[in-house]
Amino acid sequence: MNTGEKPTLAKGLMLLPALIVLGLFFTSVIMLFSNAFVDRGGFSLKYFEQILARPDYHVVFYRTVITSIIVALLAVLLAYPIALLLWRSEKHRNMLLIVVLVPWLVSLVVRTYGWIILLGPKGFVNAFLGWVGVIDTPLKLMFNDTGIIIGLTHVLIPFAVISILASLLSIEENLEEASRVLGAGRWQTFKTIVFPLSLPGVFTSLMVIYLACVGAIVTPLLLGGITEKFVGSQIYQEVMATFNMSKAAAWSICLLSLSFVSLVILKFIERRALRGQE
C-alpha cells in the first residue's frame, strides 16, 4: 500500500537496462534462426543439408560429443578428491578455494598458451619424460584430442570442485558419526552416505562441464590440430574465415539441439540415480 503510484515510472525505468539486454538477446536468436532457415527470401533447409551430407562434419560432431563426455568425467574424477579435501579442512578451506580458483584470474588464451609451453614437442613435459628416460621420442600431447582434453579439463575443473563442495557442505552434520556409531567403517560410510548425498553436485558438474565443452572454441582452436575440429571451432571458422553466416547459424542450431538432447539424457540419468533423494 505504501508503494504509491509515483514510483511506478521510476520502476519502469529501472527495468530498461534489463529489457535492452533481453531485447538484444532475442533479436540475435531470431536473426540466428532467420539466417539458418531462410534462403533467397524463402524457407529452406539447404544449409542443414550441406552440413548433414558431409561425413567429415559427422566426425566433428562425434569428436565434440565424445571429447566433452571424456572431459566431463575426467574433470569430475579429478575434482572429487579436491572437493573432499576442501570439505575436510575446515580451517584452510577458504585459502584452498582461492588456490583452486586462481587459474580463473588468468585469461583463457594465456592459460592455453601456458599449456602449449608445457605440452609441446619440446615442452616441459616431454623434456622431463625424455630426461628421466621414460620416452625416446616426444609424445604428441598437443594439436590432437589429447591436447584438447587436457586443456578443457584444466579450465573446467574449478566448476566441478565448487559444485561438488557445495553438495558436500550441504550434508547434515553428524551423518558420518551416526553411520560409524551404527557400525560402519570410514570407507563404508563414504560409500553409502557421503557419496550418494554428494551426487547432486556431481551431476551438476557433469552437466555444466559437458555443456561448456560442447560449445568450446578457444581451447580446440589452440590445442587441437588443424584436422581435430570442434563444433565450436567450426562455427568460428565459418564466421571468421569463410564469412558464411547462414552456415554458421545452421551449425549453431545443430549445436543447440545437440546440447538440448544431451541435457535431457543426462537429466534422465540423474533422476534415476537420485531416486529417493529430494
Binding site: E172, E173, N174, L175, E177, A178, S179, R180, V181, L182, G183, A184, G185, Q188, T192, I193, P196, L197, G276, Q277, E278
Partner: protein, 386 residues
C-alpha cells in the same frame, strides 16, 4: 502374525561404564578436568549442566569420536582407548538426529543390521518390531523429509535400538521439540529404557527434564563433576551453591559468619540467623567467612508477626511485595530489610496477603543450607557478575 512382541531383554550386567580421571584439552583450554564416574549397567543417567560444561564432550568421549587427553574409559571392564567407534557396544541419538535423508524410515532402521550382514528375514522381523516399539506403525516406507519432528525422533531411537546396544547415548535429542511433544517423548524414553534395560546416558541442560527421566543425575560445570546422585538427593542435599542454584529454585541470602560454636551464627541482609552447624557440613566455616544461606521457596513459611516462633524455627520480619496464584500453589514475593525472597505455599493454606502487609517469615533451621559463595568461573553460568 504375533505383533505383541516381547521386548528384547539382556543380561543386566552388560552395559556398565567406568570413567577414570578423564581429562580432555584442546590446546590450552581444558574442557574436561579429571572426571571420574561409574555408570552401572541398566541405569538411566543424565549429564546435566549449562552449555559449555563438558557434558557433550564426555558423551563424545564415550562414543569414541574423540579420545581423552588423560584417563581411561572402560565399558564392561574393557579399556576402550584403542577401540574405534564402530566397534564399541553403543548406540547414539544425536541432537540433530542425523537421519540419512536418502533412505526411507525402514532403510534408516535397517542400516546397522545390513552392516552386520543380518539375513533378510531376520532383518525384516527386527525392523518391523522396532518400528512398532517406538510407535511408527505403517510409516516404514516414508521418506525422512515427510516425517514430523516427533516421528523423526522415534526413527533415530529405533535406528539405534534395533542393534540392541548395551549402551545408548542421547545428546539433547528432545531440545528441538515443543513442550508437549517433549513431555510425551520423555515418558516414552523412560518407558523404553525400562523395557530394554539398556544403559541410557542422556545429556541435557534442562534440569526439569533431567529430574523427570533419570535414575541418577550428574551435575557438571566448567569441565568438573559437581555432584552425582538421585534427582531427590540433588534437590534436597546439594553439595554446593552451584548445584543448589542449578536444580530448582532457591533463595540466596549472602552473609558473613559471626561465630561458630554449638550453632552457626550468620549475619545476612535479611537479619541474623542461628543455624545448626550441620547445615554447613560441606563447608566447615570459621568466623568472618563469607557464606550464602540457601532456602528453597517451599521451606519459607509465612506467619502472623504476632504469633510466637515455634521451637527449631528461625524467623525474620518481612513485607509482602506481591502474590501470584498458580493453581494449587501461590508464589509470594517478600522483602526482608531490602532482601528479596520468594515463598511458595499451598494456596488453600494461605490467608489474605495484601501487598505491603507486614508478616513474619519462618523456616526450620535445619532446612537451610550454607555454602561458600560461587567462584567467579562458576558464577558466569548464571550470568551473575563475579
Amino acid at each position: 502374525m504375533n505383533d505383541k512382541m516381547t521386548p528384547p531383554t539382556r543380561d543386566a550386567a552388560v552395559g556398565s561404564i567406568h570413567i577414570e580421571n578423564v581429562s580432555k584439552s584442546y590446546g590450552d583450554a581444558e574442557v574436561l578436568s579429571s572426571v571420574s564416574l561409574d555408570i552401572p549397567a541398566g541405569s538411566f543417567l543424565t549429564l546435566l549442566g549449562p552449555s559449555g560444561c563438558g557434558k557433550t564432550t564426555l558423551l563424545r568421549l564415550i562414543a569414541g569420536f574423540i579420545s581423552p587427553t588423560r584417563g581411561t574409559i572402560r565399558i564392561d571392564g574393557r579399556d576402550m582407548t584403542q577401540v574405534p567407534t564402530q566397534k564399541r557396544p553403543i548406540g547414539m541419538v544425536f541432537q540433530n538426529l542425523a537421519l540419512f535423508p536418502h533412505f526411507s524410515v525402514s532403510e534408516n532402521i535397517a542400516y546397522g543390521l545390513k552392516l552386520r550382514k543380518t539375513d533378510a528375514a531376520e532383518m525384516q522381523r527386527r525392523v518391523s518390531k522396532f518400528i512398532q516399539l517406538v510407535g511408527l506403525d505403517g510409516l516404514g516406507d516414508r521418506r525422512i523429509a515427510q516425517l514430523s519432528g516427533g516421528q523423526k525422533q522415534r526413527v533415530a531411537l529405533a535406528r539405534s535400538l534395533v542393534l540392541e546396544p548395551s549402551i545408548l547415548l542421547l545428546d539433547e535429542p528432545l531440545s528441538a521439540l515443543d513442550l508437549q511433544l517433549r513431555k510425551q517423548l520423555q515418558f516414552a524414553l523412560k518407558d523404553i529404557q525400562k523395557q530394554l534395560r539398556t544403559t541410557f546416558v542422556f545429556v541435557t541442560h534442562d534440569q526439569e527434564e533431567a529430574t523427570m527421566i533419570s535414575d541418577r543425575i550428574v551435575v557438571m560445570s566448567n569441565g568438573h563433576v559437581q555432584q552425582v546422585g538421585t534427582p531427590q538427593d540433588i534437590y534436597s542435599d546439594p553439595q554446593n551453591l552451584f548445584v543448589s542454584k542449578f536444580i530448582g529454585e532457591v533463595n540466596e541470602l549472602p552473609g558473613k559468619v559471626l561465630s561458630v560454636g554449638q550453632n552457626l551464627a550468620v549475619e545476612t541482609g535479611a537479619g541474623s540467623f542461628e543455624l545448626p552447624t550441620s547445615v554447613a557440613r560441606r563447608l566447615d566455616p570459621v568466623a568472618g567467612d563469607k557464606v550464602t544461606i540457601c532456602l528453597r521457596p517451599e521451606k519459607i513459611a509465612i506467619a502472623d508477626p504476632a504469633a510466637p516462633v515455634a521451637p527449631g524455627m528461625v524467623s525474620a520480619d518481612a513485607r509482602v511485595v506481591d502474590t501470584l496464584v498458580i493453581g494449587p500453589l501461590t508464589r509470594v514475593t517478600l522483602e526482608a530489610q531490602g532482601t528479596r525472597m520468594t515463598s511458595v505455599q499451598m494456596t488453600d493454606a494461605l490467608g489474605p496477603l495484601p501487598s505491603g502487609a507486614s508478616v513474619r517469615i519462618a523456616f526450620a533451621a535445619d532446612a537451610a543450607r550454607v555454602f561458600a559463595p560461587l567462584t567467579a568461573d562458576l558464577a558466569t553460568a548464571f550470568g551473575d557478575q563475579a
